[in-house]
Symmetry: C2
DNA sequence: ACCTGAACACCGTTCAAGT
DNA sequence: ACCTGAACACCGTTCAAGT
């Protein structure tokens, strides 16, 4: 009992801030991931975050980086299907992960690794690799969008599946890129 | 000179509100399209908007509808390339148009027409049509994202093209879906 | 039918100042 | 090196009340 309970220096660095942001993202979703809420979670004033990141955009870019880092370097023998699935899995690991990656894609901090993996699998065809990456991101974003809408209950009249046919749509896309490659 | 200059009833309906929102979107972009700013543009209090739409989301869904309505019904003889290009053109007509459509896609108010067009062009293959639509949306969103980042100047070190290779990436994607269809 | 006025509970960001 | 405190200029939304 030598220590009091509410005095803590509680210093952070970029790494711990990003880790907390990623956890918070998964808990509350992108619309509720605010700088003020993140600061509260870190037991710090909102302004403290601006010592570590120059803006919310830059912080989200670092979060996107971490989301895609799970893809890592893929074995050269990986199939197109496995490479694409690995990227999709990384995007779907955290709530709204695809939208975060999409919203910071222009700053291309973390997409390089994932796109290099696709490039290898598509025999060096840069345009096809970019197109496939755009398809994966579009697919993941729309899927997570629907998951959120469903959890809110704000969904169209028909609306049967939470993600029922989503896998077969993904496979149809992969089949297309696969077919295009084989007829060089 | 029989009329004063600052008394105007200025009553609106859903149509005129959406038209103004679309104009404002193109002028200032999605991040600056706020309910308060839209209200100012309409010379009305922000709360007045909530008589016409129950939330900002619903208003944006109506805007997305209008963006995609430009696609209309396509001739059955249209090629896959032309159908896809028509949808892409509609998304790129207004600043941040693709992101607006994407963010309200779960409510599927306006995507039906565009997707029906793709379905016809893909011989009724629903999964392939959905996948192609996801590719087009992903492509358009990332392109507009890059255009915005470039105008801000916040762009990666390499970053050569504003959209230089973007068309050839789009064609690579279309080529893939086209190839998959022909080998039924 | 359509809008005002006022309020509630929030935002991102800056900047001087502290330790 | 890392954070506080206070401020600035905003948000979306609700609701009683007006016409």
């Amino acid at each position: 009992m030598a220590e009091e309970r509410n005095e803590r220096p509680l210093r952070h660095d970029r790494h711990s801030v990003v880790a907390c942001a990623l956890r918070l993202l998964d808990d509350v979703g992108l619309p509720d991931l605010s700088m003020r809420r993140l600061a509260t979670e870190l037991e710090v004033q909102p302004s403290a975050l601006y010592w570590h990141f120059e803006s919310k955009q830059q912080l989200l870019a670092a979060v996107a980086d971490r989301i895609l880092s799970a893809v890592g370097e893929l074995d050269p023998s990986t199939t197109l299907e496995d490479a694409a699935q690995a990227i999709l899995d990384a995007l779907l690991t955290y709530r709204d992960g695809a939208e975060v990656v999409m919203s910071t894609y222009a700053l291309r901090l973390g997409a390089h690794g994932a796109q290099r993996a696709l490039l290898g699998v598509l025999d060096g065809d840069q345009s096809a690799a970019d197109a496939l990456f755009e398809f994966i991101l579009g697919h993941a974003t729309l899927l997570q969008q629907r998951m959120h809408a469903q959890s809110i209950g704000a969904v169209a009249a028909d609306a049967a599946d939470p993600a029922e046919h989503s896998d077969e749509v993904f496979q149809a896309g992969l089949h297309a890129f696969s077919a295009a490659r084989s007829r060089h």
